[in-house]
């Protein structure tokens, strides 16, 4: 029974949860704004439609452009094998947290290279912003991982995100949750760092990097971005969930993912994106919070 649940959990989390989470965010924003909004499954319909289309490639591009979508999706798929989702992760060893973070870096590397391959000024601009902001988000993420690792005694995601009791852990957990949420917003190009709904190329970050991708390539990219959002949200959820049997764990994880989606939707409805030059300040604040959390754990 446990095995069946675990086996079933992966297709649900990796194939279904990403579009549903994105749909929930859009729905929340629409409801807050007093609109009806598109159906929750709209991102899934979009992906299926894109998969059925042919491909158009710019004559400027080379194999690098075609490499970007597949490697970034493959990287997040492999990262999902390391993350504790509905149960224990598929692969777990001391130091897997670093690999997890760097697999996202691999995805970023190929996405940025594919964007630069088009020779478009706008895509260069987006790539430049992406690497600038993510190079500040990465220390925040890894310092957060460090404080969790010290608390649990091992640099292993399964241990780090296992339930942890004790009053001394509470302050650390709150700081970790806060930092992880900021990193999640920054890495997944949400408000206040990036606005996924903007229609002006000049103001985009992630969207503008994939302007020239279409058809199955775009579907791969969108789905990969969705999985990244799901994985990072799942870590947040696992941090507050108690130990429970697999079926309940899957249910509560999915419920938790929904809550994170609604939270992101509420954040996006309640504030505007910050100016580009202010984004580094936000991320440095996250680094400071992470360092403070680490110091608190090490004390």
């Amino acid at each position: 029974m446990e095995t069946i649940t675990l086996v079933l959990s992966y297709p649900i989390i990796l194939l279904l949860a990403p579009p549903v989470m994105l749909g929930l965010i859009t729905k929340t924003k629409a409801l807050v704004a007093g609109r009806k909004g598109p159906p929750v499954l709209q991102p899934l319909y979009d992906t299926i439609k894109l998969l059925g289309k042919g491909a158009v490639y710019s004559s400027t591009t080379t194999w690098m452009f075609k490499l970007g979508p597949v490697v970034s999706l493959a990287a997040v798929f492999c990262a999902s094998a390391l993350a504790p989702l509905a149960g224990a992760p598929l692969i777990s060893f001391n130091g897997d947290a670093i690999l997890f973070a760097y697999l996202f870096a691999l995805g970023r590397f190929v996405t940025v290279m594919a964007a630069l391959d088009t020779g478009s000024s706008f895509e260069g601009m987006g790539a430049s912003r992406e690497v600038a902001f993510s190079s500040l988000a990465e220390p925040a993420l890894i310092l957060t991982f460090a404080s969790l690792a010290y608390r649990s005694g091992g640099l292993c995601l399964a241990q780090m995100f296992a339930p942890h009791s004790g009053p001394s852990a509470a302050a650390g957990t709150i700081l970790v949750l806060g930092t992880l949420f900021v990193v999640l917003l920054a890495e997944n190009s949400r408000i206040p760092v990036d606005d996924p709904n903007t229609h002006l190329e000049l103001t985009m970050i992630h969207e503008v990097m994939v302007l020239d991708h279409g058809g199955p390539d775009l579907a791969f990219i969108l789905h990969g971005a969705g999985i990244k959002l799901v994985l990072m949200s799942a870590l947040l959820v696992r941090l507050v969930l108690p130990e429970m049997p697999p079926a309940a764990a899957l249910g509560s994880l999915l419920f938790g993912l929904g809550c994170v989606a609604v939270a992101i939707g509420l954040v996006e409805s309640s504030m505007a994106r910050v100016r580009m030059v202010r984004v580094p300040q936000l991320l440095v604040a996250a680094i400071c919070a992470a360092t403070f959390g680490l110091m608190l754990t090490l004390r």
Binding site: Y57, T61, T62, A105, A127, A146, P216
Partner: protein
């Protein structure tokens, strides 16, 4: 015995190719044969040493110099370093032959071949020497050979300037090393390494002085900030295959020196660790930030050497921390990370320098803004450079990630000895370095190889000859191999680290068994990414089913874009250089277009080196100005000078009374 054979072949080859320098064909043949044979003999020596397990008996011969002996031997650390030296020198030498022939200015210079062989031989002696005098002799020979290789194109003033700077720096370092070994020899009563290690008394009182001397002597060579000042000047000055060896191997001799010194002292105090970790963090972050501000490809790569030396120094520092706290596991992790990163950096950095040579020949300049679209016109060079760029950014599934991962693990183990602050510094620094290195290499690679050609030279560029591509391909294959299957290399690395810690190799292997199996899983997941990617490519082909069409890049409605519309490397790096401008001191000069019919407008930006251009040059000119006042007393008249002598003598007489 193979070791002596290898060094003799290399030295004989150097002499023979120098004698036949007037006949380039013969000299080239001698160079190739002696390089290949010398390296093969060296590899045989390493294999033989590995088979015997224990350190090979070595070769000892008396030498007429006082307290010197010609003693060579290959222990685990020496053989690992020798492997790096011979591997990189072999690849760079073969590449270099084709590179010299392809360049009209270089093919006229006769000294490159003998000097290159001399450099290879002296590097091998440095790591095999078991006597301080022999070590210093080889160290000096290496410094001189590389100095003459730096100034081969001495018709350019900046090359002469770089050579002079390198000369000053390397000799300052050697001076510090002379004092260092004099102190060690005095304390131990012998200059043989084995003897020093056997009888060395605890050096508590002296260890601060020893660290200072080692930091100047070895740190200057390795390029620890703020002693890195010669690197970014000397690396661009020499021919590319020499830059590859300089950056890949020569600066690693500083790291080797540190490891050897730790081995000699058998234990280090706590503050060594603090100094090394801080130096590593400063070098790492500083190096990558200054790299972000560069447009000259080789200068950018030189700053990245500072960055990678920083990562190695972090590993060294954490290893020292483990030694001083008697935590063998931490010591082994730290030293293993440092040693493996030494190899990895040697591989991908020499590959990048070899690539930069091909790009420089094709474009006629080292400015990355002059490139663009080279992935189409120079497919092989660009593809191989892409692997190196990914590896140096520390991205799985390449080798750079494996060693950075080890240093991360060492940093996390630091908490067990209660050094939380050092752990936080080292983890934060590693994470920041990783992100910034990715930014810097996407910048350089994007500007050079991707997009549309910005110049005519880039449009007509062609791949170099296979003789230049094959060595690059070999280095790239090693980068991928270590990334996917780190097991075999890690075994050698752990042996070398065990030697530095003074542990038996079996104990070390046992205590790092978990880490090694973790590294295997890292490699396996890397392979998983590749397989998943291949599956997705197949899936995409099925889905698209031949419905392919081609169009122009979306220009937001503008239909006649030119190559100059592309984002430049400077603008790409701008968000980061602006954030870090207090550190970088980024300078821009712009004349904006004005009037109704603007004629000229220009924009230039550059980031001068903070230590060299920001501190040492002003300090130097201030000193010169100060001393110029005394120049007036130097009238050149004999009478005055005799008066000075008389006054001086009188003063001494008065003082004695």
């Amino acid at each position: 015995m193979f070791l002596i054979l290898s060094i003799s072949i290399l030295l004989a080859g150097a002499a023979a190719s120098a004698l036949t320098a007037r006949k380039p064909g013969l000299s080239s043949a001698i160079f190739n044969i002696s390089l290949v044979l010398g390296c093969l003999a060296g590899f045989a020596a390493i294999m033989a040493g590995g088979l015997e397990q224990a350190s090979a008996p070595g070769f000892i011969q008396a030498w007429s110099l006082p307290s010197a002996s010609l003693s060579f031997s290959l222990d685990a650390l020496s053989s690992f370093s020798l492997l790096i030296i011979l591997g990189v020198c072999l690849a760079a030498g073969i590449y270099g032959e084709a590179y010299i022939k392809a360049s009209r200015s270089l093919s006229r210079i006769k000294s490159i071949r003998p000097l290159f062989l001399l450099m290879t031989a002296s590097l091998s002696v440095v790591v095999c020497a078991q006597n301080a005098i022999l070590f210093l002799f080889a160290w000096e020979l290496m410094a001189l050979a590389t100095f003459f290789l730096v100034i081969v194109e001495d018709e350019h003033p900046q090359v002469r300037r770089a050579g002079f700077l390198y000369f000053i720096c390397t000799h300052t370092g050697t001076l510090a090393l002379l004092v260092l070994f004099a102190i060690l020899g005095r304390a131990a009563g012998t200059l043989d390494f084995a003897g020093i290690r056997a009888v060395m008394p605890p050096t508590d009182g002296l260890s601060a002085l020893l660290l200072l001397l080692a930091f100047i002597g070895f740190g200057m060579k390795a390029g620890f900030a703020p002693l890195h000042i010669w690197l970014q000047e000397a690396h661009p000055a020499c021919p590319s295959h020499v830059s590859a060896v300089m950056s890949g191997v020569v600066i690693k001799m500083g790291i080797y020196g540190f490891l050897r010194l730790i081995w000699l002292l058998r234990g280090v105090p706590d503050f060594w660790a603090i100094v090394l970790v801080l130096a590593g963090a400063v070098s790492g972050i500083g190096g990558v930030l200054f790299a972000l501000g560069q447009h000259d490809l080789k200068r950018l790569l030189a700053y990245h050497s500072v960055e990678n030396i920083g990562i190695i120094a972090l590993g060294l520092g954490l290893g020292c921390l483990g030694l001083s706290h008697h935590r063998p596991e931490l010591a082994l992790l730290g030293f293993s990370g440092a040693i493996l990163h030494t190899l990895n950096h040697a591989l991908f950095k020499s590959l990048l320098f070899l690539g930069s040579g091909a790009f420089q020949h094709a474009l006629g300049t080292r400015n990355i803004e002059a490139g663009g679209g080279l992935l189409k016109t120079m497919p092989w060079t660009s593809a191989l450079s892409l692997l190196a760029a990914a590896a140096i950014s520390g991205i799985p599934p390449f080798n750079g990630f494996v060693s950075e991962w080890l240093v991360y693990l060492a940093s996390f183990s630091t908490a067990t000895v209660g050094e939380g602050r050092l752990a936080a510094v080292s983890i934060g620094a590693l994470a920041l370095i990783g992100g910034l290195a990715l930014a810097c290499f996407t910048k350089a690679y994007g500007a050079l190889c991707l997009g549309v050609p910005r110049t005519e030279a880039a449009r007509t560029a062609r791949d170099p000859k296979p003789a230049m591509l094959v060595p690059m391909a070999a280095l790239a294959a090693l980068c991928v191999f270590i990334g996917l299957w780190p097991g075999p290399v890690l075994r050698l690395v752990v042996e070398a680290a065990a030697l530095v810690c003074g542990l038996p190799p079996e104990t070390a292997a046992l205590s790092l068994a978990g880490t090694v199996s973790g590294a295997r899983l890292v490699g396996a997941i890397g392979a998983g990414v590749i397989l998943t990617g291949a599956f997705l490519v197949f899936l995409r082909r099925l889905l698209v089913a031949g419905r392919l069409s081609s169009g122009a890049t979306w220009g937001c409605g503008f239909t006649a874009p030119t190559a100059r519309f592309q984002y430049t490397a400077s603008s790409y790096a701008m968000p980061l250089t602006r954030v870090f401008s207090p550190i970088l001191g980024f300078k821009t000069e712009a004349s904006s277009p004005d009037g109704y019919w603007p004629a000229d407008a220009s924009f230039t930006s550059h980031s001068p080196d903070r230590v060299l251009d920001g501190f040492l040059h002003p300090l130097g000119s201030a000193l010169v100005n100060l001393l110029a006042r005394f120049k007036r007393r130097q009238s050149g008249r004999l009478q005055y000078h005799m008066l000075y002598v008389a006054i001086f003598l009188l003063l001494i007489l008065g003082w004695k009374l």
